[in-house]
Structure formats: structure tokens, C-alpha cells
């Protein structure tokens, strides 16, 4: 038994050691473009959507039938960790969270960094002038501490992807924590200055889970109340080049706090090693590196291409990196504290279709099951985001022929004090509310028609009233329907009444879930009016869709 254990450990170690070696790529192979080539699926983080054209280019140049499948950082990390990525390789902006875990390491057979993009703070030129950051000698001294102070003083209002689900958001928080602790290395949970995080988050105005969405919203909202965008350099440079901004962004690289995404391409399926090596060789070659640098504005790793494109990327002087802390307690503690303590708490209405058609195909059961998850105890990486968090308010508003009675559930705050990030178990009070949400869901019954617009409008009106009373919440409406509108207002009446809502109410996004026989065009038109997004749950498990939406709230 003991020997057996030793042998297993030994085998595991050897597997890891063998896996860690980087292999020199072999010479590029035949350039045949057979479409019968087996798909080489790559699970990629969503900020790589701008690199999708590589699929075609790679097939032509290497014969490898590259196909991207996109997902959020945490979602993709979870998929690789649990061995459910179901892909030949994974391509993340940053894989340090994944690779600081031994389980994660064992999934990755080979890795190779493909390109670089440092996280920067893009500040509207007028705001940069007001802050004095337009002067290079001042900009060079801007640290995460300076940025925190500006946010706290009400001078910096930024867009940033969700710290609990994305690398940019997470690294920004780490930068703030490191700067406040006055030490850049070996940060531990006890070094966390909670006040600094709270101050920094005062400037957090636009939240979301992917760069395309945030870019669109930033273009719409850029102004004195939204004057900065924290993201990878390449997305900020792309926005500047798009000509769609009201004013250009000045890029500031936090002093001694730069986190550079290095885009490791990671082989997951040992059987595809050969194709992987071909791809890596090509991706690091002149053609792909030049294309990536010119089209996606990421910095090349190929020294020759870098030299030929020198000057293309802003040169703010020396970029001193923020070391990534491999301390999982710090990372997980920070994410949990962000969700449960620091972030602006979520207040939202779930507008739930319980019309007669929900009785078909176990639709209602599936909906109830998801509510059980959201109000349950899923502690997985993505589960903790889907879960109702402390301080959160949720109204459940079932509807059929007409809107039902909204029922409020409020999750109590936890008790925390002083410095550090000690994990605290759920309080009895929290568990009690969660149980009440689940019990309520169990009472839902399917019957009647679909008064979609009436119900969404009612939810918006209610959220607007709440927002007036309690402005310190992040408001949104999540609408769920499995059919077309059949009762109450039509779309045009909805549009008219929506236009009458106060501006504050119209700022509340509506996230619609497309389910069953719901009409895509109807929901798309709706969110076009209200702002927000449509999520398709016809072919994706409903729980996964909920997790996605939660990252936008």
C-alpha cells in the first residue's frame, strides 16, 4: 500500500517533470489545406475574440484546423482544472491562477507564451489633464495608490471587467492591495488593507465580463461620470484607433504595478502534441506575430518582429511588473471579499415566466433547479459568482397573464473587521434567507399567458424607486421567458412607456434569457431599448447562462 502510494506519487512527479519541458518547435510541416483535417479546438478567453481570424490563417499556413471556443477567464480556468475543457489546447490571457495550482499544472502538457499586453489605465484626455497625468513626469509616478486616491476623491470613474471573473479586474485589485501594503512581494491575506479596496471601488462605474461589451458601453457612456477604462493595452489602443471615442484615452501604466498578460498557449491533449508544436512555431513566426501586433495591437514576443515594429507601442519607460502572488488563500479570499464585502451590492429583480408553456419539457423544473443553485452552496470557481452574495437584494417576480407579486429576499452582511482576509463561514441568518429563496421557488406553478413587457416594465419601475431610496446598490433586471408576449402591453406601448421613465431608471440594464420558444428578435429589440444583453439558454445549460449574467451584474 505504502509502496503503491509512493509509486503513484513518483509517476505523477515524473509526468509533471516531463510535461514541464519546453520543446523547440519543429520545422513547419506541409502547407496542405485539407478541410478534412481534424479540428484543433482551443478554449480561449473572451478577450481573444479579436484574434479569431487566426483560424483561417493557421489552416492555410500549417494545415492545422484551428477553431476557437470562447469563455470567461474563471469559467475556462474551472473547465481546465476539472479536466472538462474538452479541447486540444487552451489559450488564456494569463494562466498564473491556473498554473499556481498543482492540479492545473498537471492538466497542462506544454505551454508557450505567444504575445504580450500590459494592463493599463486609459484615462480620457480631459480627465488626465485635470489630474495632471498628461504630463509624462507625473504619469510616470502614478501608482495604484495614486489611482485609488483619485477614485476615492471622485475624480476617476472607470470601466473594468469583473474582478471575480476576469484577469484584468483581479489584477487591478491585486495592484491596489500591493500598493497599499507597501510591499510588492509575497503578499499574504493578512497584508490586505480593506479600506484601500473600498476606496478604489468607489470609482467602479461600469462593470461587465468581457472587453467587447465593456468597449461598446464605454463608447456610449464616456463622459465626466465615466472617464477611464482599465484594461489590456491592446484594447485601449484599439479603442483609440477606432475613432469612435468622444475623446482619446491617455494610457497610464501604474508604477511598479504593471501586470502583463502573456497569452500562454497550453497543450491539454497529449495526442495533439504535433499539431500544437506546428501551431506554436507558426504563431511565434514572423507572419502571425506581425499580424497580431498590427491587427490586435498586442506586443510580439518574437524579437525580430518586435525590433521591426519598435515605436508602434507607447514607450512609457520601464514597466516594472507586479509579481503575481501564488497564494491561493489570498486570491480566493480577495475574490470572496470583493463579492461579499467590497463591491457595490447587487439589487435585482428576476422576472420569471411561469406561463402554461413552462409546463412543457420540464422547463419550470429546470428554472427552479437553477434558483436552487443560485441560493445554494456551490463553492466551485464559477459557483461562488452565481451564488447570492452577502448584502444582495433579489426580488422574484413571477409572471404569466399578468405580473405577479414581487417577493424580496435580502442576504444579510457578514461580520468582518480590521486587516486581512480570514475566510468566514456563512452565517445562520444568510443560510436562512437562502433556504427561503429555495422554498419560494418550489411554490412556482406553470399556468396562463405571457405578459412579458408589462412585467419587465414593472420590474424597472420598482428598481427605479428602490434606486432613489437606496442609491448604493448596483441595479439590474434579469428577465426570463420561454415564449412570445401574449398579454398586456405590446412592444410599441412598452417603448413609449419606457421613454417616460426617469433617466436613473433607464440606466438600469436588462439582461434577457432566451429559453424554450421565446423569440430572439423580440428580446433583442427589448434590450436595444433598455440597454443590456440577451443570453441564449436554448442550447446552453440554464445554470451556465445564469453564471454568465451574474458576472455582468
Amino acid at each position: 500500500m505504502k509502496i503503491c502510494l509512493k509509486m503513484t506519487l513518483l509517476a505523477g512527479l515524473l509526468a509533471i517533470l516531463t510535461a514541464c519541458g519546453r520543446q523547440e518547435p519543429s520545422a513547419p510541416a506541409s502547407t496542405s489545406t485539407s478541410h478534412a483535417a481534424p479540428v484543433f479546438e482551443v478554449l480561449a478567453t473572451s478577450d481573444l475574440k479579436d484574434a479569431q481570424a487566426l483560424e483561417k490563417m493557421a489552416l492555410q499556413a500549417t494545415g492545422v484546423n484551428l477553431k476557437f471556443r470562447y469563455g470567461g477567464t474563471m469559467e475556462s480556468t474551472e473547465a481546465v482544472l476539472t479536466g472538462r475543457a474538452d479541447a486540444a489546447a487552451a489559450w488564456f490571457a494569463n494562466a498564473k491562477y491556473l498554473l499556481s495550482d498543482s492540479q492545473g499544472q498537471s492538466r497542462v502538457k506544454l505551454q508557450e507564451k505567444i504575445m504580450l499586453s500590459p494592463i493599463a489605465v486609459g484615462v480620457s484626455e480631459s480627465a488626465a489633464r485635470a489630474l495632471g497625468w498628461d504630463r509624462p513626469e507625473v504619469a510616470a509616478k502614478v501608482s495604484w495608490k495614486t489611482i485609488t486616491e483619485a477614485a476615492g476623491a471622485g475624480k476617476l470613474f472607470y470601466a473594468l471587467s469583473n474582478p471575480a471573473t476576469s484577469n484584468q479586474g483581479f489584477m487591478a485589485l491585486m495592484g491596489v492591495v500591493a500598493a497599499a501594503a507597501g510591499k510588492a512581494e509575497a503578499l499574504a491575506p493578512e497584508d490586505v488593507n480593506r479600506q484601500a479596496i473600498a476606496t478604489f471601488l468607489k470609482g467602479y462605474k461600469l462593470i461587465g465580463d468581457n472587453s467587447s461589451y465593456l468597449s461598446e458601453k464605454f463608447i456610449e457612456g464616456q463622459g465626466p461620470r465615466l472617464n477611464a477604462f482599465i484594461n489590456y493595452e491592446n484594447w485601449l489602443l484599439s479603442l483609440n484607433a477606432s475613432g469612435r471615442l468622444r475623446e482619446k484615452l491617455l494610457l497610464v501604466y501604474p508604477r511598479e504595478g504593471v501586470a502583463t498578460a502573456d497569452y500562454p498557449l497550453m497543450l491539454l491533449d497529449e495526442a495533439r502534441r504535433e499539431d500544437y508544436l506546428k501551431l506554436v512555431d507558426w504563431l511565434k513566426g514572423k507572419e502571425a506575430q506581425t499580424w497580431l501586433a498590427q491587427q490586435t495591437l498586442r506586443r510580439p514576443v518574437n524579437s525580430e518582429v518586435a525590433a521591426s515594429l519598435a515605436g508602434r507601442f507607447t514607450h512609457p519607460g520601464l514597466l516594472v511588473e507586479l509579481p503575481f502572488s501564488p497564494d491561493r488563500q489570498l486570491a480566493d479570499g480577495l475574490i470572496s471579499a470583493y463579492l461579499n464585502e467590497f463591491r457595490k451590492p447587487v439589487a435585482s429583480t428576476f422576472v420569471l415566466d411561469v406561463s402554461g408553456s413552462m409546463g412543457k419539457e420540464k422547463r419550470l423544473e429546470r428554472l427552479v433547479e437553477v434558483i436552487h443553485y443560485v441560493a445554494g452552496d456551490d463553492a466551485s470557481l464559477t459557483g461562488r459568482i452565481a451564488r447570492l452574495n452577502e448584502r444582495e437584494k433579489v426580488w422574484l417576480l413571477p409572471f404569466s397573464t399578468r405580473p405577479g407579486q414581487p417577493e424580496l429576499f435580502e442576504i444579510p452582511a457578514g461580520k468582518r473587521t480590521g486587516k486581512g482576509l480570514a475566510a468566514s463561514p456563512d452565517s445562520a441568518a444568510k443560510l436562512k434567507v437562502m433556504a427561503a429563496v429555495r422554498a419560494y421557488a418550489d411554490t412556482l406553478r406553470a399556468a396562463g399567458g405571457t405578459a412579458l413587457y408589462d412585467s419587465v416594465l414593472q420590474a424597472l419601475q420598482m428598481m427605479a424607486e428602490q434606486k432613489k431610496l437606496h442609491p448604493d446598490y448596483q441595479y439590474s433586471v434579469i428577465g426570463f421567458t420561454d415564449g412570445e408576449n401574449s398579454h398586456g402591453r405590446g412592444f410599441e406601448a412598452f417603448q413609449q412607456d419606457y421613454a417616460q421613465l426617469p433617466e436613473d431608471a433607464r440606466a438600469i440594464p436588462v439582461f434577457m434569457i432566451l429559453f424554450g420558444d421565446a423569440r430572439e428578435s423580440e428580446l433583442k429589440a427589448l434590450v436595444k431599448v433598455t440597454g443590456g444583453l440577451v443570453f441564449d439558454a436554448r442550447h446552453t445549460p440554464l445554470y451556465r447562462v445564469f453564471k454568465d449574467i451574474r458576472a455582468y451584474q
Binding site: 502510494l5 512527479l13 515524473l14 519546453r22 504593471v258 524579437s303 509579481p323
Partner: protein, 388 residues
């Protein structure tokens, strides 16, 4: 579990490490004659591929089409398999057992990185009744890749001194003292060019998984104690003191080129000092144009460790391979292109010169790493400390 961890560490060090035992190993040259002369000749002349297990460092050399062509012409075609150096002894043992006797199923040669791995293979071969002769055609010293402004700061603080044009000798004793005192770059004299609050640290790969970081541990423990560690008590005390040098680095890449990639691609702001094998940067410099920026410099730790690549031949053809690698100037030239040092040092320096990278030709202060039991002890302590 404790035993398991201990075993892990032991295996790791056993396999990764080598040093003093290298010259102690008997080469048993005379035993070759046990085989009939004719059989030997036929084997050498055979054109079927011989098999070799090589470490990751050497795989590109054997994959080079010129190398393959030369070996084919010399009637030594070879099929190599990349295997972790530490895995080779076990593979030899298993192959010998499977084939039920000497030679059958066993590779013609084993080519690990590091003398200790070589000795493990030799031991295994002896147990299986196989003659294994050893030669070391290639080697590569451990170096610190750095930057001109960083070198200037270290010189101003007496931690480094120029030992040639754009080459520096790194005083390990003083460097380790500064790191253990948690000196920040901004606290050093004349540090304007890198006046950052980060602590002075050398970036390495993950010591729990990678050989080069284990070499760093050997050098830093030598600097700390003033001698090669020779007993368990001082080994584990040294490792405890040195744990911070690894832990404070934060996340470490766990593949062989990890910290070197950071040095090359992200630069001074990420890796002011990167502990690597010399072949990594020399190979890079010789294979890519514009690879070496003018401010990239090498520092040679004083003392340093020279990592030897040891070729163990278990058959007549393996021994022919040994002779070929030692005697064929063309193969040596190609090995140099991959950054490796060969017996003819002039060949190496002449090749490196035009690349823009400056290297230290002769290494005056070279030590052997501690015995593997002691290294094992130290890695074990570090593994424990890093989990805290």
C-alpha cells in the same frame, strides 16, 4: 504523506543533480572487449536506427537535420526520445527487466543533463549487468542573465565586478547577504536607473520542479555557508534561511524556459536578474537575428556550477556515438549553435562573438554541488516552507 514528499524530493534531486561523483565513476572501458570483435563491427555498420534517450535540453540538437544527416552518413542513424533526465534510470531498469537480460530493449545510449542523473543510470545499468561507459561531450555553466543598468548598480555596491567587456563576475556571498537582508533596489547606492521598491532577488524556475533552480539553491547555500554543505543539519538550516529567496519571488514559471522567457520578452521590469543555463541565452543569440539587445549582459556567479551533459553508452553503437560526438568537429560546431560548450573552448567563443552577446570564456571558480542526499534534504525543506 511525509514519506511520499520525502521520496519526491529525493527522486527529484537524485535525478536532477550531480557533481562530485562524476569522476568517481568507473568507466569500465576494458569490459567492452568482452563482446566478439565481429559482432561489434556489424553493429556499428548497421543502418537501422539506434535508440537514445535524451534530456529536453538536447532534443533540438538531435532533431537538427544536419545532425541527422551526418549521423546517417556515419552509419549511426538515431531515433531519440526525449525523457526527463531523472526518468532515464528507471526506464533502463524497466527495459532491462522486460527483455530478461542485458542489452535487449535497453536504449543504445542515455544522454541526461547532470552528473547525478548519469550516475543513477550507471548504477541501474550495473545492477542489470550492462556496461555503461560515460563521456561528457557538452556542458553549460549556470549564469545570471541581466541588464547593463542593473550590472552598473551591482558594481557600484560591490556585489559584481566587470570581468571583461560586458561580462561580470557576481559575488554570490555579497548578493546573498543583500537578498537575505531584504534590500530593495531603491536602497542600493547609485540605483537611479532601477530605483524600485522591489526587493533584490534573482528569478528562478520553481525549485520543486526544475533543475536550474536546484542549482541556484546549491550556489546560494555555498554562499551562505562559505563552503559546500556537508551535513544534514547545516543543509536544512541553510534551506530554511534561503527559503525567502524563492518564496518572495511570487509566482514562478514551472517550465524550463519560464524565467528566461520573462527575461527576454517582458524584460528588466520583470526579470532584472534571471538564473539560467548559459546555453539558453547563447542558443537564443545564435539562432535568431536581433535576439540580443545591446543592454543585455551576462553575469557569472563566483563560484558557479558547470552542468555537464553525460552520454552513457550501453552498446557498441552507443560507444560509436560517443566517439562521433567527441571527434566530429562539424557536430561540435552544431552543438555550439545550440549554445553548448564543447571540449574545444575556442570553437565556442568564436561562434558566440558575432552574436553581440559577451560570454566569460574561462571559468575560474567552479564548485560541485553538495551530495544528493543533502540537496534532497534542502529541497524538502524548501517544499515545506513554500507550502506555508
Amino acid at each position: 504523506m511525509q514519506a511520499g514528499k520525502r521520496l519526491l524530493a529525493t527522486v527529484l534531486v537524485l535525478a536532477l543533480f550531480g557533481g562530485a561523483l562524476w569522476y568517481a565513476t568507473q568507466e569500465h572501458q576494458g569490459q567492452q572487449l568482452q563482446r566478439p570483435e565481429t559482432q561489434e563491427r556489424r553493429a556499428v555498420d548497421s543502418v537501422t536506427e539506434m535508440s537514445g534517450l535524451v534530456s529536453v535540453d538536447l532534443e533540438p540538437f538531435f532533431a537538427d537535420v544536419r545532425v541527422q544527416k551526418i549521423l546517417r552518413e556515419r552509419k549511426l542513424p538515431v531515433r531519440v526520445t526525449r525523457v526527463g533526465s531523472r526518468d532515464m534510470a528507471a526506464q533502463l531498469g524497466a527495459a532491462a527487466m522486460r527483455s530478461g537480460g542485458p542489452a535487449g530493449g535497453v536504449a543504445d545510449f542515455y544522454f541526461p543533463a547532470g552528473v547525478l542523473a548519469a550516475n543513477q543510470i550507471a548504477d541501474e545499468a550495473r545492477k542489470a549487468g550492462i556496461n555503461a561507459t560515460q563521456t561528457s561531450p557538452f556542458n553549460s555553466p549556470m549564469v545570471v542573465a541581466s541588464w547593463q543598468p542593473i550590472a552598473a548598480i551591482l558594481v557600484a555596491n560591490g556585489i559584481a565586478r566587470p570581468s571583461g567587456e560586458r561580462v561580470y563576475a557576481l559575488n554570490m556571498e555579497r548578493l546573498v547577504a543583500a537578498m537575505l537582508a531584504r534590500k530593495r533596489w531603491s536602497e542600493l547606492k547609485a540605483a537611479e536607473a532601477f530605483a524600485v521598491n522591489r526587493g533584490v532577488l534573482v528569478s528562478t524556475t520553481d525549485v520543486r520542479k526544475s533543475n536550474s533552480a536546484v542549482m541556484y539553491l546549491a550556489l546560494t547555500s555555498h554562499a551562505l555557508l562559505g563552503e559546500v554543505v556537508t551535513d544534514r543539519v547545516s543543509a536544512s538550516a541553510a534551506a530554511e534561511k534561503l527559503a525567502g529567496l524563492f518564496k518572495r519571488q511570487g509566482y514562478q514559471e514551472n517550465y524550463v524556459n519560464g524565467n528566461f522567457d520573462d527575461y527576454l520578452q517582458i524584460g528588466m521590469g520583470k526579470a532584472p536578474l534571471a538564473f539560467i543555463y548559459e546555453y539558453q541565452i547563447v542558443g537564443h543569440a545564435l539562432n535568431r537575428s536581433k535576439a540580443i539587445q545591446p543592454d543585455m549582459v551576462l553575469m557569472y556567479p563566483e563560484p558557479t556550477i558547470v552542468n555537464k551533459f553525460v552520454l552513457l553508452a550501453t552498446s557498441a553503437r552507443g560507444r560509436a556515438m560517443q566517439a562521433e560526438l567527441a571527434g566530429n568537429p562539424e557536430l561540435q560546431r552544431i552543438a555550439v549553435e545550440y549554445g553548448l560548450r564543447v571540449a574545444d573552448l575556442g570553437l565556442f567563443t568564436a561562434a558566440v562573438k558575432p552574436s553581440g552577446l559577451a560570454v566569460q570564456e574561462r571559468l575560474n571558480q567552479v564548485i560541485d554541488p553538495p551530495a544528493y542526499e543533502l540537496m534532497s534534504e534542502m529541497v524538502e525543506v524548501l517544499t515545506r516552507e513554500m507550502a506555508k
